[in-house]
């Protein structure tokens, strides 16, 4: 590969367009408002795509190495049903149920050990430690245990999600201020009353923090697990197979879907968070 571009026209054009988009972002960023918050990142992303397209075309990069965004876009448009099938398998059947089960189980365990400081003191360091482990290493084992279909993917996601969630929920349950707990005590509130009316609401910012971390983990877990065995559809399956077939445009199409799904997933959690923890200083307008 030479450093001198083969088609410098494309490069010049792309650079120009990039500059224009960039300048537009800079100007817009000075303004205030909701629309700006949305438009600027979109422009920013667009400017990167333009640069990418320009570089690929200018140096005539082989499509088996890095396809141009336009090629990827065409592939996405042409492969709707396949992409949907993969999405359904990996995200809807693997990641989402795993996420829900993992988070739910963490919640249940957190409540169960809530009354035992002893168990908490034991489980928290262990949980913190496990949360830092490369759990993905368990993927081949879980595929062996739970079979090829989505169950094993969900299992990987459950394991990956469980500990970060547990740690966050337990921390959240301890997050209420002493003054707030004392108030409950002066009213003679029971454990359950205190839990429902004080500690759970106070824990929500932590819970959502955990959910956000878990949402990206869930996606990675579900996709990686497919590398160790899967039916012949699914995002991880498609990615690994198409790399072997040099179908790089399809690989990028799946990556785009994954990024989109991940962002929507994350955005959804952030939205619910806004609704539930509207009172938290970080959420107030």
């Amino acid at each position: 590969m030479s450093w001198v571009p083969a088609h410098s026209g494309w490069l010049a054009g792309a650079l120009m367009l990039w500059l224009v988009l960039w300048a537009a972002s800079v100007m817009l960023a000075r303004r205030e408002g909701r629309g700006v918050r949305l438009v600027v990142p979109v422009l920013f992303g667009l400017s990167l795509l333009v640069l990418w397209e320009g570089i690929v075309r200018a140096w005539a990069v082989a499509p088996v190495i890095l396809p141009a965004p336009s090629v990827i876009a065409a592939k996405i448009a042409a492969s709707g049903p396949v992409l949907w099938q993969d999405f359904a398998q990996t995200i809807l059947k693997g990641a989402v149920p795993g996420f829900l089960i993992g988070a739910g189980a963490a919640f249940a365990v957190a409540i169960l050990i809530d009354r035992s400081p002893f168990l908490q003191r034991g489980l928290l360091p262990v949980g913190n430690f496990v949360a830092a482990l490369p759990i993905v290493g368990l993927a081949p084992i879980l595929v062996m245990w739970f079979g090829f279909d989505w169950q094993s993917k969900a299992a990987v996601v459950v394991v990956m999600v469980f500990f970060p969630m547990l740690v966050n929920i337990v921390a959240g349950l301890q997050a209420s201020e002493r003054m707030q707990r004392d108030l409950m005590a002066t009213w003679g509130a029971s454990y359950l009353q205190t839990l429902l009316r004080l500690r759970l609401p106070a824990a929500m910012p932590f819970v959502f923090n955990g959910l956000k971390i878990a949402s990206t983990l869930a996606l990675i877990g579900a996709i990686v697990a497919e590398f160790f065995g899967s039916p012949i559809y699914g995002m991880g399956f498609r990615i690994s197979t198409e790399v072997g077939r040099l179908g790089l445009d399809m690989v990028w199409a799946e990556i785009a879907v994954a990024a989109l799904a991940g962002s929507v997933f994350y955005g959804l959690i952030a939205l619910i968070e806004r609704g539930v923890t509207f009172w938290h200083p970080s959420q107030r307008k």
């Binding site: 003054m179 002066t186 009213w187």
Partner: protein
């Protein structure tokens, strides 16, 4: 007849109270040999430098801390029993409102916990909101109100379930002097109207003198009572009373008491 008896029966009675905290650096004697009798309808202020045990004593009364030795009775029973009988309304320095509940929701909270009926809850919320002049603010969230209003809401919350004893730990410490003046006047009115027994912690000498029928001066390391002053001021107290000779004399005595017990830190 009954009224007179209960008038004379002490509401709070501490005898030889000691309270020691076990900390990593060794024991801390937060209260040492504290003796105090508070009668029904008293307005008792606790004043003293930081760390002298004011908060600890108030918490012990509300059964939030347990004395190491000595006896402490509230309405003739143990603080724990009194708590179960809903004897306390407690107001902390910061308003301590739950940010996820509206003002109305915050005031309702103790009522829900104590199992008041829905109708009764509504009625009481209305009443105390009026009492603290926050009518119309029930649907706001705490952070949408100024500091003074928040503090009034937290007082309303403590009043809603009609506890005998109102304990306030530096309720106005975070407010500016003018707002504080007004709230002081309102607390006095409230006290006059309801006849509650009030325990009040403050750092401000004028505030203590202006409000109280009894001023308890405390001193730290170990936390103990150095002076108890029964105020000769009348029950009716306009703000101007603070420029009167009597007021200034009591204030002087309190200041002297404080200075004597105050070590350089």
């Amino acid at each position: 007849m009954k009224d007179t008896i209960s008038q004379n029966q002490p509401v709070i009675e501490a005898k030889g109270l000691n309270l020691v905290f076990q900390t990593a650096d060794g024991p801390v004697q937060a209260l040492k040999d504290v003796n105090l009798t508070v009668a029904k309808g008293d307005f008792v202020s606790f004043i003293g430098p930081s760390g002298c045990g004011k908060t600890t004593f108030l918490r012990a009364i509300a059964a939030l801390e347990h004395p190491t030795s000595g006896t402490l009775t509230v309405n003739g029973m143990s603080p724990d029993e009194a708590r179960r009988k809903r004897a306390y309304g407690y107001v902390f320095q910061a308003a301590g409102l739950y940010p996820w509940r509206t003002i109305r929701g915050n005031i309702k909270l103790p009522l829900e916990i104590m199992g008041f009926s829905k109708a009764d809850q509504e009625e009481r919320v209305q009443r105390v909101l009026e009492l603290v002049e926050l009518k119309g603010f029930g649907k706001k969230f705490p952070w949408q109100l100024s500091g003074g209003m928040q503090q009034r809401a937290s007082i309303a919350r403590a009043l809603a379930f009609d506890a005998d004893i109102l304990l306030m730990d530096e309720p106005f410490g975070a407010l500016d002097e003018i707002v504080r003046d007004r709230l002081n006047e309102e607390v006095l009115k409230l006290w006059a109207r309801t006849g509650k027994t009030i325990g009040f912690v403050t750092h401000s000498i004028p505030e203590a003198v202006y409000l109280s029928t009894k001023i308890v001066v405390m001193s730290p390391r170990p936390g103990r009572i150095t002076d108890v002053i029964d105020s000769p001021l009348p029950k009716e107290r306009p703000l101007d009373i603070r420029d009167s000779r009597e007021f200034i004399e009591i204030a002087h005595r309190v200041r002297e008491g404080l200075r004597a017990g105050h070590h350089e830190d």
